[in-house]
Assembly symmetry: C2
Homo-oligomer: 339 residues x 2
DNA sequence: ATGAAAGCGCTAACAG
DNA sequence: CTGTTAGCGCTTTCAT
């Protein structure tokens, strides 16, 4: 590595080092003539400011940490939620010349986010797929108390007042039940995800609320729990089928597709013998046959909002408390249209 | 932010600052007693070494740049190839306390990778989805000449001798044709991807070689080109169907699924009326009905190899020239099993 | 095994 | 508009 520094440019262009920096930092007034001369020398020498030195002097890493659960043997990226949120975050960080640094949280030892700040590894962080549990809350509380910029995505803790960008999953659920009701379904089974995720409990609340509203039976045995994997959908299907019901509403598309596979094996046709609804409106929902009725969630927008929020905090050197809840929308497809 | 520094710890622990650093950098001899005292004080003060200062002093960013094509309106992460490679890279960088920084290459202006090194933003870089074109090669050549560590993934330029981790796509293609031949197919249409990607041309070479080997007709009109998208598969189907053929081999699963959709609309059944084969053995290939026969490519391993290669270069401060080609493997499923 | 000190290449005042 | 200078918190080398 060559290592042309500001000093070299300054010497040849016959200006002070500070002026060289002024030229490269833009928001400083430099005479056009001087600027030109500096830029010319810089380009001749192939000079580029050293980001390491800049970061060090500014005490900013230029990194946004993105916390992801590490799922052994699985791929976070191939999960629609993560893929979309990351894409949204990536678009915003790129535009703002920030790096997105992925931090994998291993189930076994929850990470102390604060340390990343103390080490100056990140300037802010975004938390995806957080679970509602003691240790998590404690770690977030530390950030909160120290006024460090962070934001949760697609999650909220009823007990706390953390900044978050969420979607209205209660309403999403409500839309599903209303639609199924209008399709003539009277007994709707619900395959939910683990309640440690607020979106699961929000969906449950919406399910219950809607059932009451439309006078549908609200039985405990109608509510099942998977782990959001396709396999769990597949596996839970048999016990759901022992119920007297006419529709299955799954908390995500992957589980719905697992259910579809099992129904297929049993020669039960979704969209004909039974109504099936998924959630997320992922690309998968349009890939399967019949296409899946599902709830669209603006994951990418959520990622953007969250990233913009923390970048704003950084720019203003003060964290702003913010809670956003975006709308969800039912997209009707073949799987729930009983013919 | 508090900002407890080494100085604070040194003062209270009554040692020199250098000793504090020695304790935290491990590979330095410090008397057990001293070490203990320092660690105790550090933990009391909640001290963590400042990574920005460390990086600056060491002149290392701790970042591996990963170059990805930016595809507007699409999501790189939801693409099986990128998702898997990134996962592999991520596992290795995480283990080595390195960051993976995503660099999006916009089609309109190819990036000058060298600048990232000159700015000290990255210590090495990995190139995914590179196209074979002048500018790309010129930019890589600059890295090569300056002896900067980089590695291409799933791509190689016949004209150059760059480090790369590739898979044997020629053989993958060959396996497909052999299988179809054994299924009794005599006229195999091939829907390939753009030839700017070496994996496309490798597949083409394998297709041609195998056709010759088994005495199958090798007609230009049997070879079509899509852009690896599902839509392109769907759209190219009709013209492929005008041919007198008994099998369609697609260069990736997404296109194969597009073909499936169109065949479905036309009430042509893959695995019965016609044989269909995909490529990548992505999770999608197992989601569709019938399940897709496809070629497994060890993308995740490729990401790991590439990351390990450059980390090794960094550790040894010298770039090693390396070309790896991993095996591909045909996975037989329903779509190609003519009944 | 430990201390002392010279950088690393910038930013951010402050002075003129 | 431009120059000067004091840090930023480490790593590294040289002494002891």
């Amino acid at each position: 590595m060559s290592n042309v520094t500001r000093k070299d440019v300054a010497k040849i262009a016959e200006v002070s080092e500070a002026t060289v920096s002024r030229v490269f930092s833009n928001h400083h007034s430099v005479k056009a003539e001087t600027k030109e001369r500096v830029l010319k020398v810089a380009s001749q020498l192939n000079y580029y400011p050293n980001v390491l030195a800049q970061n060090f002097a500014k005490r900013k890493s230029g990194n946004i940490g993105v916390v992801l659960p590490y799922i052994p043997s699985a791929n976070v990226f191939s999960n629609y939620f993560f893929a979309e949120v990351l894409q949204g975050i990536g678009e915003v960080t790129e535009k703002n010349h920030y790096n997105m640094v992925l931090l994998f949280q291993h189930e076994s030892n929850p990470m102390d986010y604060e340390q990343y700040f103390l080490r100056h590894e990140i300037d802010a962080c975004l938390i995806l797929g957080a679970k509602h549990r003691e240790e998590e809350i404690r770690n977030l509380e530390k950030l909160h108390k120290r006024n460090l910029p962070f934001c949760m995505v697609n999650q909220h803790f009823s007990s706390q007042e953390f900044s978050e960008v969420d979607a209205n999953h209660e309403d999403g659920s409500h839309q599903v039940i209303q639609h199924l009701y209008e399709q003539g379904c009277k007994k709707i089974a619900f395959l939910n995800g683990p309640l440690v995720f607020s979106n699961s409990s929000d969906r449950l609340a919406g399910y219950k609320k809607a059932c009451k509203e439309w006078g549908l039976p609200l039985l405990e045995e109608f509510i099942h729990y998977g782990d959001y994997s396709r396999t769990s959908g597949y596996q839970k299907t048999d016990s759901i089928l022992t119920l007297d019901m006419d529709a299955i509403y799954c908390a995500n598309d992957r589980m719905a597709i697992g259910v579809m596979r099992r129904l297929e094996e049993l020669e039960i046709q979704p969209g004909k013998d039974i109504a099936l609804v998924g959630y997320d409106y992922s690309d998968l929902s349009r890939l399967v046959t019949p296409t899946l009725t599902s709830v669209e969630v603006p994951f990418r927008e959520m990622g953007k909002h969250a990233a913009e929020k923390v970048l704003n905090d950084i720019a203003h050197s003060k964290v702003e408390y913010k809670q956003v809840k975006l709308a969800t929308k039912l997209i009707i497809n073949e799987s729930s249209l009983l013919v």
